[in-house]
């Protein structure tokens, strides 16, 4: 096991820190140099002096961090040197511009996965499997109950639900996080069924996607309630329409202008019946931009890493199961500690997060 002296990354108050190169990855607080895996708000926080991110995510990162932020980009696979550490970004397949960050220093290779998935997603580059000495993985859905159905079967579920609502003259609204999830859902839609509309927040991200070269089905945006707006779009169109909106607008005035609609929620948490019931929507579609249990294990296996650090989500269960299967696995909190102190301690915070904040799965 690597001792903390050799560690290329340690966990500090401000997030993951590389002492050799003096930079942070996805810092929690404003720092001097921030390497950012992707533009979701729990990874890309404003206030740091300098940002480095993957070129594919240039536009979304800019829209998230504001026009004044100093953002440098680097193409996937291209290497640069930061304070003697060889750094490169590799596609993580999570959302547009998402990256795993690979660090190489004196022959040691560490890879930080960021958030990732390996399943096909036309709205972003596919996951690149890397080899590393130490692999730091997320574990948002790190329990074996989380196994995703194929994108095709979910897509056909969504489309037939849309067609059914249409036959009843009801608008279909899928609530999905506006960055990543919304575009993925859009990519699943069958345009021949009817018109597609989005909430302005989704529209803003869509523009960044299109500017980045991503193909999305044609759509219209429904603005905030304003005089003439409804008439302009032709309210009669809504009964046939599919609308994509962020979950936060459920129940708002914006939603009310849609008239009668069938609400659905798209998230990996929809795998669980209780979650589907809890959210007071008519349907729950299992669409996640995170790796499921099988993907996590496959990627970990193929990384060839001697050491695995589980960083986010269901940390305890995955660490314990990896150890049981002979991996040298730990969490940052327990790193270097004896197995016995870890066993049976499922981190309470992680569980709470998964139960109460599931609406913000990817934020």
């Amino acid at each position: 096991m690597a001792s903390s002296k050799e560690s290329l990354l340690i966990r500090s108050d401000a997030g993951l820190y590389c002492p050799q190169g003096d930079f942070f990855i996805d810092p929690l607080k404003p720092v001097d140099k921030a390497l950012v895996t992707h533009a979701h708000s729990d990874h890309a926080r404003s206030g740091s002096r300098q940002y480095l991110t993957a070129a594919e995510g240039k536009h979304v990162m800019r829209s998230r961090l504001g026009s004044k932020a100093m953002i440098e980009t680097i193409a996937y696979g291209e290497r640069c040197n930061i304070g003697g550490v060889n750094v490169s970004f590799h596609s993580a397949g999570h959302v547009l511009g998402s990256a795993q960050i690979r660090l190489e220093y004196r022959g040691q290779i560490w890879v930080v996965s960021g958030d990732y998935k390996t399943k096909y997603d036309p709205t972003c580059s596919g996951f690149e499997q890397l080899q590393a000495h130490c692999f730091i993985t997320e574990s948002t859905f790190g329990l074996p109950i989380y196994r995703w159905p194929s994108s095709e079967s979910v897509a056909s579920e969504i489309n037939s639900w849309w067609a059914e609502n249409q036959s009843e003259g009801r608008c279909s609204v899928v609530f999905a996080y506006s960055f990543g999830k919304a575009q993925r859902v859009m990519s699943m839609l069958d345009e021949s069924i009817g018109p597609i509309y989005v909430h302005p927040a989704v529209d803003e991200l869509n523009k960044q996607y299109i500017a980045s070269g991503c193909k999305l089905p044609s759509y219209g945006a429904i603005g905030e309630k304003s005089a003439g707006n409804g008439a302009l779009l032709g309210l009669s169109l809504f009964p046939k329409a599919m609308v994509i909106a962020p979950p936060s607008v459920f129940g708002s005035d914006w939603c009310n202008q849609l008239g009668d609609f069938s609400p659905a929620f798209a998230s990996g948490w929809m795998r669980i019946r209780a979650n589907r019931k809890r959210q007071a929507m008519e349907r729950g579609f299992i669409v996640s931009d995170h790796a499921d249990w099988d993907e996590l294990n496959q990627v970990i296996q193929e990384s060839g890493a001697q050491e695995i650090i589980v960083h986010h989500g269901y940390v305890g269960p995955l660490v314990r199961d990896l150890r049981r299967r002979g991996f040298n696995a730990s969490s940052f909190a327990s790193r270097g500690r004896d197995l016995s102190t870890l066993s049976g301690k499922s981190p309470k915070l992680d569980r709470e997060r998964s139960n109460s904040d599931w609406l913000q799965e990817d934020s």
Binding site: L143, R147, F250, A280
Partner: protein, 535 residues
């Protein structure tokens, strides 16, 4: 099993009754009668007995799952439902072809396995079933084993759908489901067949009273009888030779909740139908409606509620007397027949009591659940006003005036008139507001009020918000800047907005946490903001 698990899934996806109908009717038409009967069994919430403890099933799973106990346990906790978690954790194999196919086959096999005392046989059965079933089927299978079936269809919806499917009334279906039945082809056949139930215990249409509270008394008051307007659940009690039914005014079968009334009704002659009010009763006195509600509002009757709230059927009319339809007889004659019926029942019970007491000193409890609502002959309006004053002590809503020569008529409301006692008002402070769910999640749907008592706030009632409320904006504004805590749909605010509230009655009640029960409270007006008060 496949068709049934598919049905459960489809029902979960169906957001309204119309869609559920489109799923359930073709299902019933496509499966065998026996499978349909088993489906009804499961939808009604019945279960095979004994069922497995979830720990037992977890232990079984631990033996075949590639995961260790802790991971199984953590998964179950995350899902919050053992049956569902285990269905996810057992890998799909569909290896073995199981000889069991239909739901009936499965139910019989499961039932046998549950009753078996051979652990290894039980285990073997469960393992091979898991191997043969797909995920959705495993979910149903586990739930049946654990007796925790969850189907997104209420018994009420089932009744409605079966009624439509078979061209019978919902009451007929409800009666058949209420009678004792075992799962069989014949049961389902009888359930959906409209013949052979002519003599069933259906209710008659309910007669109702016109509200005269604010319109003054009729001139010829002597041609009316007065009786208390009890504050309970209006119901008809139907006694046939082989069935007894208690129907609410809304057409719901209340048998399950009224077991003591059912056994009291056993003593009535066959083919008797009474009209009356179900009341909560304790220590020879009527309980406030809020206490009676405790018996009816939960899906399963709690033992606590049935121990604390006894039921009484306060009969005030008779519609069928030993098979004779007496609805067209004048009220006075019906009242005579009713009092004879109830008092002869009393007499008989009393004589049995005397005989018994010869042999043993123990006291025999007379069945007190069937009571006769008293009637008052009026000579002038003063008498009526006197009675109305007494109404408050009697804990009734007011008085009913019924024309002495009238038949039991449900079309004309003029034979029965109701006059309610004046309500009470109190000042209460708004302590929290409740938001709706779904598309109403940003809308306040109810207000919770409390009163001050010795510097302590006691919650007294909840009042539904109406769109026409003039104070709505004022409250919304106040909530914005005075929120203390938000918990789920409930938002507590600083107790400073004081309202005047009117209620039909305010009665003390041991069963309500506040100690008082308010009946039908409404907001009258906003009195203003006060930091603290002694209202």
């Amino acid at each position: 099993m496949k068709a049934f698990s598919e049905l459960c899934w489809q029902l979960e996806q169906s957001s309204n009754l119309e869609k559920k109908k489109r799923v359930l009717i073709p299902y019933f038409n496509s499966v065998s009668r026996e499978d349909a009967a088993w489906s009804v069994f499961l939808i009604c919430g019945r279960r095979l007995k004994p069922s497995f403890q979830s720990s037992k099933l977890k232990n079984f799973a631990a033996e075949v799952s590639p995961f260790d106990d802790e991971l199984l346990h953590e998964s179950c906790t995350a899902v919050g439902d053992t049956a569902e978690a285990l269905a996810f954790l057992i890998a799909d194999s569909s290896l073995s072809e199981f000889e069991l196919k239909s739901l009936s086959d499965w139910m019989n096999a499961i039932s046998a396995a549950l009753r078996s005392d051979d652990l290894s046989k039980q285990k073997e059965f469960v393992f091979s079933a898991w191997k043969a079933l797909g995920e959705l089927e495993r979910l149903c299978f586990n739930r049946i084993l654990l007796g925790s079936m969850k189907i997104d269809l209420s018994p009420k919806e089932l009744i409605e759908i079966l009624a439509e499917m078979s061209g019978q009334s919902a009451q007929q279906i409800a009666l058949k489901l209420e009678s004792k039945w075992r799962v069989s082809e014949e049961f389902f056949e009888a359930l959906i067949s409209s013949s052979g139930y002519e003599n069933s215990a259906l209710s008659y249409p309910f007669a109702s009273a016109a509200d005269r509270t604010d319109k003054g008394l009729p001139e010829d008051i002597t041609s009316y009888l007065a009786e208390w307007k009890w504050d309970g659940i209006r119901a008809q009690l139907v006694k046939r030779r082989d069935s007894i039914a208690i129907w609410s005014g809304k057409g719901e079968l209340l048998n399950e909740r009224c077991l003591e009334l059912i056994s009291a009704a056993e003593e009535l002659p066959d083919d008797t139908v009474l009209d009356g009010e179900i009341l909560g009763w304790k220590d020879a006195d009527v309980l406030p409606f809020a206490d009676l509600e405790l018996r009816f509002k939960t899906r399963k009757l709690s033992p606590k509620a049935s121990a604390e709230v006894a039921l009484v059927f306060m009969a005030f009319d008779i519609l069928e007397d030993s098979g004779e339809d007496v609805r067209s007889l004048p009220l006075l004659e019906r009242k005579d027949r009713l009092s004879q019926l109830i008092s002869s029942r009393r007499k008989r019970a009393a004589s049995e009591f005397e005989q018994l007491s010869l042999f043993s000193p123990c006291s025999l409890q007379l069945n007190p659940s069937l009571k006769l609502s008293p009637v008052f002959q009026l000579e002038n309006t003063e008498q009526f006003q006197e009675l109305l004053k007494d109404a408050e002590q009697m804990k009734v809503e007011g008085l009913l005036l019924k024309k002495k020569d009238s038949s039991y008529h449900c079309e004309s409301e003029l034979n029965w008139l109701k006059i309610e006692s004046p309500g009470k008002t109190l000042e209460a402070v708004l302590i929290s507001v409740e938001y709706g769910s779904g598309t109403k999640s940003r809308k306040i749907v109810a207000y919770h009020f409390a009163v001050w008592k010795n510097a302590e706030l006691i919650r007294v009632c909840k009042i539904r918000a109406e769109d026409s409320d003039e104070w709505q904006d004022k409250i919304a504004e106040f909530v914005k800047s005075n929120t203390i805590k938000r918990f789920g749909p409930l938002c507590s605010i600083k107790p400073e907005l004081v309202f005047q509230i009117s209620s039909k009655s305010i009665v003390s009640s041991e069963l309500q946490s506040s100690g008082v029960a308010l009946r039908k409270p409404v907001i009258i007006k906003l009195l203003g903001e006060r930091a603290s008060s002694n209202s």
